[in-house]
Symmetry: C2
Subunit: 127 residues, 2 copies
């Protein structure tokens, strides 16, 4: 499999596939005689694993940890759960932030007439 096939199979852009090997997140792939990267199904599975982890918002370093656990037959589910719970708390924290931001901004937007005149509660609030 050349890189574009691995890209399609994994759902990651070609550039990103290269990048993940550059930073050592995945093993550097073997090369063809011409120097082309070649991928097998196992590599693609790891790339998919990373893509899904990234979609959950895990950082690259967390993906590194998770991938390590994925490949470790002696892992404990406690370790995985710890990392996932941490991410879950971050998500919840972000949700709380966004909620209060939303409420405040929604209130301002509602109370702004949005006409040709300069009076504006949004500007007043910010200034």
């Amino acid at each position: 499999m050349n890189i574009s096939a691995a890209s399609k199979a994994s759902g990651l852009p070609v550039k990103t596939v290269r990048y993940y090997a550059d930073i050592g997140l995945v093993q550097a792939p073997s090369r063809s005689e011409a120097g082309y990267r070649t991928y097998d199904n196992a590599s693609v599975r790891k790339l998919v694993f990373i893509r899904r982890s990234r979609e959950f918002g895990f950082t690259i370093e967390e993906c590194r940890e998770l991938l390590g656990l994925y490949q470790d037959q002696d892992r404990t589910s406690a370790e995985v759960k710890r990392i996932a719970s941490k991410r879950l708390e971050e998500i919840e924290e972000k949700q709380r932030e966004l909620q209060s931001l939303h409420d405040e901004l929604a209130h301002l937007v509602t109370s702004c007439r949005g006409d040709h005149r300069p009076d504006c509660p949004i500007i007043d609030y910010l200034g």
Copy 2:
């Protein structure tokens, strides 16, 4: 006012106050004989305006626009409302994303026993 006083008064780090002038978001402040930046109340008000706008998640470019409107006596509230509504929609979009992420991850975390064994629905889901 020297930069650290302006920093305290505006609630922005010293580095950020300098940065905002470097990128032309605010006017370059006047300098003392020794080359120290000097700030007045009007500058501080603008910095506060930017800080609040940033807290709402407006980008620097949006802050530039908003600050322009803030200082424009001939602005229309419609223009301000347009920018704020756009941001509000982004927040709502992000909230929806986070909500589905949250639900999925919370479900996985709940169903993971988190013990010493390797079996883990989180890892299974990612892989």
